[in-house]
């Protein structure tokens, strides 16, 4: 591992007060009745979740990450920019990472404006990701999934044009016409905040990241596939003349650290189970609205579906995905190994999975901040010195 190591903390802000009979719902997404949302409990969860992200900043995590989903108990963040805006004055150093609003779900000029506002408000701490959005978002929002990828490409082009070219400019596209693209404010960072694509590795999104020189975070893919995707992106980006840096490959790891491995498992497994079995529970139809995937992708995902959304087994998840549950030593060892194999120095801790209570999240963050991150930073620094000598 070379260069500075970077550690982010991601929060999904699940709504965890499910009715006792929630298992009878095939999906907690799209059509899970919203009568089950209790605003009192929702308010308490917002307060708690925000306090966890603020703590991450205090403990020295380099970035805090929020994201967007609709119609679901999986997430309390249909509008992550609102969360980001409330985090800015309560944090000092951490990058505010909005990972992010699917560009298809907003007018592109408006998204360019909102992100520019956050970047200016935070004095340049904003980082953004452009997800296509899960299939579920297309059942919840009035956008055609069959033309989603073409619209997505156009939206990103408009946002980049809005950020990088002096306005007013014009844009005459297939989906949007801008006679005066001239958004105020403009981003604090030049030419614009660092950008990532977050995706599950469809060839189209890899190509967009490669063409634009964006970072890429693959989520919900197996370790083997994630590694292949990183390699493919490095190759493809080089063809477009971009040299990908290690920090452009954020690696999302389900992490829980405790005094002993046994204790770590005992404290974390039920919440990881909740994450896979309940929070992520949805139907194949919701995952893949018509035209959203290529036929090849549909078939590939049908094969993977059982791993992600089926019957939970910690051993399977531990084997297939990036999961580091154990002592500080064990977690450091795993992260360093994956840093090598994945060619990254940028780790994203999924450290508040499922219905994990606040005390465990705080414990986990403290272990990470005191017993994992400093050791990895020191080791990376000493390797840099060796390399320099």
């Amino acid at each position: 591992m070379s260069g500075d190591v970077r550690f982010d903390f991601i929060h999904f802000m699940h709504y965890t007060h499910l009715p006792d009979d929630h298992k009878k719902y095939a999906s907690l997404w799209v059509d899970f009745p919203n009568k089950h949302f209790d605003p009192e409990r929702g308010r308490a969860l917002y307060e708690r979740y925000l306090s966890e992200l603020i703590l991450a900043d205090k403990l020295g995590f380099d970035g805090i990450i929020v994201n967007e989903h609709h119609n679901t108990a999986y997430s309390l963040m249909p509008a992550p920019n609102l969360i980001a805006a409330s985090l800015i004055p309560q944090t000092r150093n951490a990058k505010i990472c909005v990972w992010g609003t699917p560009p298809n779900l907003e007018y592109p000029n408006r998204l360019a404006e909102e992100y520019a506002m956050l970047d200016v408000l935070s004095g340049g701490r904003l980082e953004v990701a452009f997800p296509l959005g899960t299939g579920m978002e297309y059942w919840a929002n009035p956008i055609n999934p069959a033309s989603a990828r073409a619209r997505y490409r156009e939206s990103i082009d408009i946002i980049l044009q809005a950020w990088t070219q002096d306005g007013p400019t014009t844009y005459y596209g297939d989906f949007y016409t801008y006679r005066y693209l001239n958004p105020w404010p403009r981003p604090f960072q030049k030419p614009h905040p660092p950008c990532y694509i977050v995706g599950t590795g469809s060839p189209e999104t890899i190509d967009i990241a490669a063409r634009l020189g964006f970072g890429y975070a693959s989520v919900f893919v197996t370790k083997q596939r994630a590694r292949e995707l990183n390699e493919k992106l490095r190759r493809t980006a080089a063809e477009y003349g971009h040299h990908m840096r290690p920090e452009q490959f954020p690696l999302q790891v389900i992490t829980y650290v405790a005094e002993t491995e046994e204790r770590a498992r005992e404290e974390a497994v039920d919440h990881i189970r909740y994450f896979f079995e309940d929070a992520l529970r949805t139907t194949p139809t919701f995952l893949a609205p018509p035209g959203y995937l290529s036929v090849e992708q549909l078939k590939a995902r049908a094969a993977l579906a059982d791993k992600l959304h089926g019957k939970f087994s910690f051993d399977n998840v531990n084997e297939s995905f990036f999961v580091a549950v154990g002592t500080p030593d064990q977690v450091v060892e795993r992260l360093e190994e994956w840093g090598e194999t994945m060619g990254t120095n940028h780790f994203v801790f999924l450290g508040a999975p499922g219905n994990m209570p606040n005390w465990k999240v705080v414990k986990n963050m403290n272990f990470l901040a005191h017993d994992v991150m400093p050791r990895m930073r020191a080791r990376a620094a000493s390797q840099r010195r060796v390399a320099a000598e």
Binding site: P142, N144, P145, A146, S147, A150, T283, P284, T285, A288, P289, P290, G291, Y292, L293, V295, L298, K299, A302
Partner: protein, 261 residues
């Protein structure tokens, strides 16, 4: 992709229209009868065999369905009308009877609204695409794929032979998913045609509406919506038949033949 087995007497021809490869099935002699299929052709065309006794039956596969190529740029019904103008020119078809089923009914109605002088007689079988006062019952996209076959028929045995033994057959799933994508390009934003009612008065040719009384996908009440705009159209409904009324009821096939004769 696995080709659907069509009845032997049908000749299969490939045509390339605007760079897009499509298949045209044809059989029989007599006045031309063009059949526009629905949002899937996997259940075959056995029902059309009796028509070949009296007509030259021509069944083109719509782009994005069955063996026909995809064209993501075909994103509205009118693109299909234009495609068929080109295809009918290529086939040297001037005037013909037009029978459209389900999505094909919506296409046929649109074609006939614009090019009515080419249509002798028009038959719309369980046509999709008009909006009722209630929430449209025919929102195909709300159906989980595994439930669709059961929604199409009154008697499941009629289509069982066309379905894979394994309900999770990946190739079958993939093909249906692809056709769902084609349909989404046309009908996702609105599962109905908002403009068509303005122009249905242009259907001055003799017109027959055919509906299965047990249609679970587009209920027979939809026929009333069509008849509001087509007061002169004849309506025939069939008991014990679902959406695939032609596949289920020989009487419906015969009724179409009598109407066209």
């Amino acid at each position: 992709m696995a080709a659907v087995a069509f009845p032997d007497q049908f000749k299969r021809e490939t045509h390339t229209i605007n760079g897009l490869k499509t298949t045209v099935l044809s059989a029989g002699k007599g006045e031309p009868l063009v059949f526009m299929h629905g949002a899937g052709i996997w259940h075959g065309i056995n029902f059309a065999v009796p028509w070949t006794q009296k007509f030259r039956v021509i069944i083109p596969l719509h782009p994005g369905f069955g063996e026909a190529d995809d064209d993501p740029a075909m994103s509205e019904i009118h693109d299909y009308v234009m495609h068929y103008l080109d295809l009918f020119d290529a086939l040297g078809l001037d005037k013909f009877h037009l029978v459209g089923f389900s999505l094909g009914g919506l296409l046929a109605a649109n074609f006939a609204v614009e090019h009515g002088h080419r249509i002798h007689r028009l038959v719309l079988v369980g046509p999709a695409g008009l909006r009722g006062k209630e929430r449209p019952k025919g929102d195909f996209f709300l159906l989980p794929p595994e439930e669709i076959p059961g929604m199409l028929v009154s008697n499941f045995d009629v289509i069982k032979q066309f379905l894979p033994e394994n309900p999770k057959d990946l190739d079958f799933m993939g093909e249906r998913y692809r056709e769902g994508g084609t349909l989404a390009r046309l009908l996702w934003e609105h599962p109905y045609d908002t403009k068509l009612p303005r122009y249905l008065h242009r259907l001055t040719m003799p017109t027959l509406l055919v509906w299965g009384e047990d249609d679970k996908l587009l209920s027979v009440q939809n026929a009333d919506i069509w008849r509001q705009y087509l007061p002169k159209a004849e309506l025939q409904t069939f008991k014990g038949a679902g959406h695939l009324v032609l596949d289920e009821k020989r009487e419906a096939v015969d009724a179409v033949q009598r109407f066209l004769s």
